[in-house]
């Protein structure tokens, strides 16, 4: 069920425009728990899937929005390559379009970059029903405004993404994870070290009082670094997939789960480290908190967003308190067709 279904999608957008109806964009609904639900009739990208172009020696892949991330990974893996970013695949159902719309990243983000960093171009339909291409497949491109990256995290409110080109990297020759059983104060001290030292790091995670650090590169370089980091135990690579895809046992709780974005080099500011999983050398924290009142005191720009099982929240929507956000939305989608209700 893969192919170019863009004509149907375009027609749907145009008919919504003509009758002033809203559409709610959905791929495989792998992130339906996120909320808020958009108003309007379902516009499914399911079926608008498949790789449009992939040349391993260009380190770029272009695929339709409905393509599963897991399928992309498999195709790239066959060439011993991988995406340059590591968005969660949510049970193998997460799509390329969805990954761009939410902009989440896995444990490699501080070292390898995010979806936004790896995005080279998008093709989209705006609220005028026009099909447009921004960016492209080349690494460097400063012609026109960077509309592609503006789509990352926009929750589909600026247009319907039809396809996208992402940067690809060779898979590392050798990977090893080192683990240290440490308390959260020591974990923080060691995490800071990860930003300061030129080690070939490709991920960090602190959970269950253990700090996991993944190293990737050639064997000698990785072994040198793992010695310097003082390794205790070795861990399977599947640990990292579990963290990336939110399949680690930590994520299986039923209580309200929040995502907290802290400054680089930030210290853990909660006593209940049992209830947290910390990635990005301290900067991305997943925390179970019953009270919407965060126990963490935030510094400038730091923020918490409800992620799962948080009742009655609307803070996940994009706020138009800022007039520039409001005007931007209108510049792309003047009739408020796309994901109405998600921009409030």
């Amino acid at each position: 069920m893969t192919g170019d279904d863009s004509e149907r999608l375009m027609a749907h957008v145009r008919s919504a425009m003509d009758s002033d109806r809203a559409v709610s964009i959905e791929g495989e609904a792998s992130k339906a728990f996120l909320g808020p639900r958009a108003d309007g009739e379902l516009l499914s990208t399911r079926g608008h899937a498949g790789i449009i172009e992939y040349r391993p020696d260009e380190l770029v892949v272009t695929a339709r929005a409905g393509t599963l991330l897991s399928e992309l990974d498999a195709v790239l893996g066959a060439e011993n390559q991988m995406l340059a970013c590591d968005p969660p695949r949510f049970g193998g159902k997460g799509t390329l379009g969805g990954a761009i719309a939410v902009g989440f990243s896995g444990p490699a983000r501080p070292w390898q970059g995010s979806v936004r960093d790896g995005l080279l171009g998008v093709e989209l339909v705006n609220g005028y029903g026009e099909r447009m291409q921004f960016g492209g497949q080349v690494m460097k491109n400063v012609a026109g405004y960077d509309v592609s990256r503006l789509m990352v995290g926009a929750r589909g409110t600026l247009g319907l993404i039809l396809s996208a080109s992402l940067k690809v990297l060779p898979r590392p020759e050798y990977t090893r994870t080192v683990v240290a059983a440490v308390d959260h104060v020591e974990a923080r001290r060691r995490s800071l070290n990860l930003l300061h030292k030129p080690f070939p790091i490709s991920g960090s995670c602190y959970v269950d009082n253990r700090l996991y650090v993944r190293l990737s590169g050639n064997e000698a370089a990785v072994e040198d670094a793992s010695e310097a980091l003082g390794a205790d135990v070795e861990v399977e690579e599947s640990f990292w997939d579990q963290v990336r895809d939110h399949e680690h046992p930590f994520f299986q709780g039923n209580r309200p789960l929040w995502r907290i974005s802290l400054a680089r080099g930030s210290r853990p500011r909660s006593e209940s480290s049992q209830e947290q999983l910390v990635e990005w050398a301290g900067a991305q924290v997943w925390a179970y908190m019953d009270d919407a009142q965060s126990p963490i005191e935030f510094g400038e720009g730091e923020h918490a967003t409800p992620f799962r099982n948080v009742a009655g929240d609307s803070s996940k929507s994009i706020s138009t308190a800022d007039k520039y956000v409001r005007r931007l939305k209108a510049a792309f989608d003047p009739q408020d067709i796309f994901n109405r209700g998600m921009v409030v």
Partner: protein, 484 residues
């Protein structure tokens, strides 16, 4: 031209030495790095702090006066060329390093701080700021944000957009936008990404927080010598395809090699058709393994010789010629016209052949220097502006090169920006709908079109006028080529 009321208001907010109207004193501000585009602004203002920037913007907004923002004036597309009736807002007095945070590995600076000064400020801690445009000694970080600048090392370490964590932007309506900071993300639309490379069209950057990286423990530069240009081009794809990500991968052709060698004596082989410079960095063992692989690939692809620099001095010597390439080529002719197309790596060979062909058609020599690893070409078209018609011929030649870059799936500018220089080629790369979207996007931040008007995105009328010239019978050039 002068607007006495506006001037009077500026004087109530800025010290006298920050306002220049004297025509002789204004002259150095007539152009940026591309001197073919020249205009004298009626006033140059040099604010010392963000309050003064905001006052200048507010006053200009209230009186409908256009504002052109200028950093160090090193840009290569005329993006900071002044406007006759406009204010030239020059950020060079705002050059404080506000904070170096060694725990977060970040530096927060004012926009006038030079690119290199950031690395200089943190070098003692074993850190550096990765993007390194060739003008890094002079160009300012505010300008780097406006252009999304790259450099030799962006192949591995990314562009400005990948290395800036936060900025503060003043809008023409006199408001401050705090975008990002020291976190990796912010809620809502990614306006931080949108500001990168927006060429002063959306706002004025007044503060920048950059990510600092630890200095790599080891580095090595390889110099591959080729008797054939396409073989060097093939080596580029082969190195990247093999899984090595060099810190830098640069190519120079015969004319560029000879010019550089005569100019700085870097020890380049003057009879070579092309050289490839490949820098590898990382841990000692990683560098050694990668160097062996790259050397083998270069030889397998036909390099007649591969030399290796291991000491700091040797590495610098190898780079010296590349870094001096533009001024070196500049000695070969009274003028040169530098293009900045970016193409898929596999198309490099084809594009080079086309450039050679066009060089004969237009009867102008061309030297090729480029960031081969990124597919970012810098053909330097040599001409003499004093000879009747040569400038026009050089511009036409350059335009054809960019058309070809777009036709093979590339872009008209990889890192220099559109400015005023590449407005015509924007009509080739973007459709009417896309250009309209750009205009609406700009209007969201600047409804009165007062920020850097006439730059970066062409008016639709301009594209229609050009229609007959570039887009023959409504067809894209080179329909015979696959587009991908």
């Amino acid at each position: 031209m002068s607007n006495p009321r506006v001037l009077e208001l500026f004087r109530t907010h800025l010290p006298p030495q920050s306002i220049i109207t004297d025509q002789a004193a204004v002259r150095p501000f007539e152009t940026d790095g591309i001197t073919a585009f020249r205009e004298r602004p009626w006033v140059v203002v040099l604010p010392e702090n963000v309050e003064q920037v905001r006052s200048v913007l507010q006053i200009s907004h209230d009186h409908d006066v256009p504002v052109v923002t200028r950093g160090a004036g090193t840009g290569l597309s005329g993006g900071a060329r002044p406007i006759r009736d406009g204010v030239l807002l020059t950020m060079s007095k705002m050059r404080k390093v506000i904070e170096v945070d060694l725990e977060a590995c970040t530096a927060t600076v004012e926009p006038g701080v030079t690119n290199l000064a950031i690395s200089d400020a943190v070098r003692e801690h074993g850190l550096y700021y990765a993007p390194d445009p060739s003008s890094q000694i002079a160009c300012s970080i505010g300008g780097n944000v406006a252009e999304n600048s790259g450099g030799v090392h962006c192949l591995k370490y990314g562009l400005t957009v990948h290395n800036v964590l936060g900025i503060r932007v003043q809008t023409i309506e006199g408001e401050e936008l705090v975008l990002g900071g020291k976190t990796y993300d912010s809620p809502g639309y990614d306006l931080l990404a949108l500001m990168m490379g927006s060429e002063g069209m959306l706002g004025v950057v007044t503060q920048v927080t950059v990510k600092l990286l630890p200095e790599p423990p080891d580095k090595r530069v390889l110099l591959g010598v080729y008797d054939d240009l396409p073989k060097a081009g093939d080596s580029v794809s082969a190195i990247i395809g093999d899984g090595v990500i060099p810190a830098g991968l640069e190519m120079m052709d015969a004319l560029a090699i000879r010019a550089a060698e005569e100019y700085v004596h870097a020890g380049y082989p003057i009879d070579a058709a092309a050289i490839l410079l490949c820098e590898l960095d990382g841990s000692a063992s990683q560098v050694e393994a990668d160097a062996d692989r790259v050397s083998d690939i270069m030889k397998a692809k036909g390099a007649i010789n591969v030399r290796t620099a291991t000491t700091e001095e040797e590495c610098e010597l190898f780079w010296k010629g590349r870094k001096a390439a533009f001024p070196a080529v500049g000695r070969l002719a009274p003028d040169y016209y530098c293009m900045d197309g970016s193409v898929p790596r596999h198309a490099i060979g084809r594009v080079l052949s086309e450039i050679t062909r066009l060089s004969t058609v237009y009867q102008l020599p061309v030297a090729n220097v480029f960031h081969a690893g990124d597919g970012n070409l810098h053909p330097l078209v040599l001409y003499d502006a004093n000879k009747e018609g040569e400038l026009q011929r050089a511009e036409a030649f350059g335009g054809k090169i960019l058309e070809y870059c777009v036709a093979v799936g590339g872009t008209i500018t990889g890192e220099h920006g559109v400015g005023v220089e590449k407005l015509d080629q924007m009509c080739l790369q973007f459709s009417e709908a896309e250009l309209n979207q750009f205009h609406r996007l700009k209007a969201a931040f600047d409804p009165g079109a007062l920020m850097n008007p006439g730059k970066a995105v062409p008016a639709l009328a301009r594209c229609s006028e050009l229609g007959g010239m570039h887009v023959h019978e409504g067809k894209v050039p080179h329909p015979e080529l696959e587009r991908f």
